[in-house]
Amino acid sequence: MRYGDNQPFEHLKLPITWGVMILVAAICVVGALMFLGDRRGGLDAASYGNRAGFDRAAAKSNNLLSTPAHFVSDRTNGIEDYFFAVSENRVLKQKIVELEKYRDAYRQAKELNRRYEVLLNLRTEPEVESITARSVSVSRGPFNNNRLIDAGTSKGLAFGNPVINEHGLVGRVVGVSPDVSRVLMVTDVVSRVPVMVARTDARAMMVGDGGGFPRLEFVRGGPDVLKKGDQILTSGDGGIFPRGLPVGEARRGVDGVWRVDLYTNRGPIDLVKVLKFKDFTQLPRAEEVLRTPLVTDLLPAPPAPSAASHSPSASSASASSGAASSSAAPASSSSTSPSSAVPRPRPAAMSQPVAPRPQPATEAPASASPASVSGG
């Protein structure tokens, strides 16, 4: 029987190529609507919220594949460690002798720093709890750089948690499920990390572009604020990342653009540590934060300007005061920035809810009193 015999539509010939083209156009329209409706660029929790189930399934399959490879790799490393144990032990003993000097200096500097903090009643960031996870799946393409790690909300992870490894900053959590989380790498094209140069304290924005060397944009300061080999740290601006996480070193690319040679390029990203750092809401209570004195209130007053340059020096003093206050208390910078343009009013009383004004050290909150006693 030939095709079409005794069929109800035997004389109806569908132009299959045009039919397929219409179907392709329809799917393109659907895809374009999905693309336009996706809120991935905003990087909020809802943009990845509908992918949690898929990530769980994908991570399980990749975990099945990576577990035997890691097992073999661990055994191979164990054999290698066995044969090189003697020479490695000798090197480690030398390193211990060298590092003991740095340990003693670190302890002294830490104690001195603690006393300064108590004397100035400075607000420091609290200790951040962290958990360890293993990377099970990775997307390395130029359009997407992210990973799946085998830890999720069951271990207390949340959207926005920073992710580091033994070398430096890896990225941050952008999608969570009970067992699996998706980590957006700092090399992804939608990644923006506020950073600073450790040598000059200059601020910049590290922008991922799908490669292993993110760009440094919006570098503030003169032409000498950045040199090859400068260490790049997270600045903590914006509250997404804590301040001071190591990121990499500055390099100038062949195109003349400053880039960051990431510390995480020095080795494979296998085990990672997720910091349970959310944002500035994790800091101490708002009342306590607002009672923290500004550094400019504690430092001695600057010398009186001459009469000829009275108004420009006053404006520069107020500008430096604002800059110092923003660096000393970044959490309250948003609330105090409008008042930095005008003379800051003196507070009337502590119980007044409006006009947040830092108190002097003698009126420190109760939580800091024992420390000040011990420090004094």
């Binding site: 799917i27 996706d38 399959s61 594949l65 572009d209 799908g210």
Partner: protein, 207 residues
């Protein structure tokens, strides 16, 4: 092993015993580089040239996404396997199932690689549509023509990817990384030629 002079012919296969017929089919499958027929009617169905290659592409994508660091700081390659199918399927035969499957695979890539939804759907559909338009000019041409057309298809895919990424994020992706993944995807031309050889060139009943 069967001797060459005992090579069975299709006209005499009907008079063979079942075991001899089975041996003859096995011989053809092994030594004549032909596909063993599946199904009762011996017709190449959609599962042969659509579903199994799609499944294989998804499996290959999942396997290559495993976090396995290699020696010398290298990583596993990450080619976009569905691009090969988006190019090969319209050449084999225009089909209503193929774009639907490609749409599903594009969504899979969007979810699996964390891309914005619709990103890979649009890119794969563009390759599929372009190949469908020039299908009649490519089918039957020399292998080098097919390879050249596939290279253009890969270039179209990644150009569209760069444009969509720039529109979405405001950042132009690093072109060195784009060329790396483009090269890995271009190497799948072997996969394309195998598909065309199995389902287009060696199966006259298909056309």
């Amino acid at each position: 092993m069967l001797a060459p002079q005992r090579r069975p012919r299709s006209s005499s296969t009907r008079s063979m015993t079942p075991s001899a017929s089975r041996r003859a089919r096995l011989y053809k499958a092994l030594f004549e580089n032909r596909t063993p027929r599946r199904g009762s009617g011996g017709i190449v169905g959609p599962q042969d040239w659509l579903f199994y290659p799609a499944l294989m592409a998804i499996l290959a994508t999942v396997v290559l996404a495993t976090d396995l660091p290699l020696s010398f700081g290298l990583d596993l390659p990450e080619p976009v396997w569905p691009v090969a199918l988006a190019f090969a399927w319209p050449l084999i035969r225009p089909s209503f199932i193929a774009p639907l499957l490609l749409g599903v695979m594009g969504l899979f890539l969007d979810y699996f690689w964390g891309a914005p939804l619709g990103f890979y759907v649009i890119s794969l559909m563009a390759v599929h549509a372009a190949t469908l338009l020039i299908r009649s000019y490519i089918v039957g041409q020399d292998t080098w023509v097919v390879i050249g057309a596939y290279s253009l298809a890969v270039l179209l895919f990644f150009t569209l990817g760069v444009v969509l990424t720039t529109l979405d994020s405001g950042v132009v992706p690093r072109l060195i990384s784009v060329f790396e993944q483009m090269f890995a995807t271009w190497c799948l031309v072997v996969f394309v030629l195998i598909l065309l050889d199995r389902f287009l060139n060696s199966d006259v009943r298909f056309n």
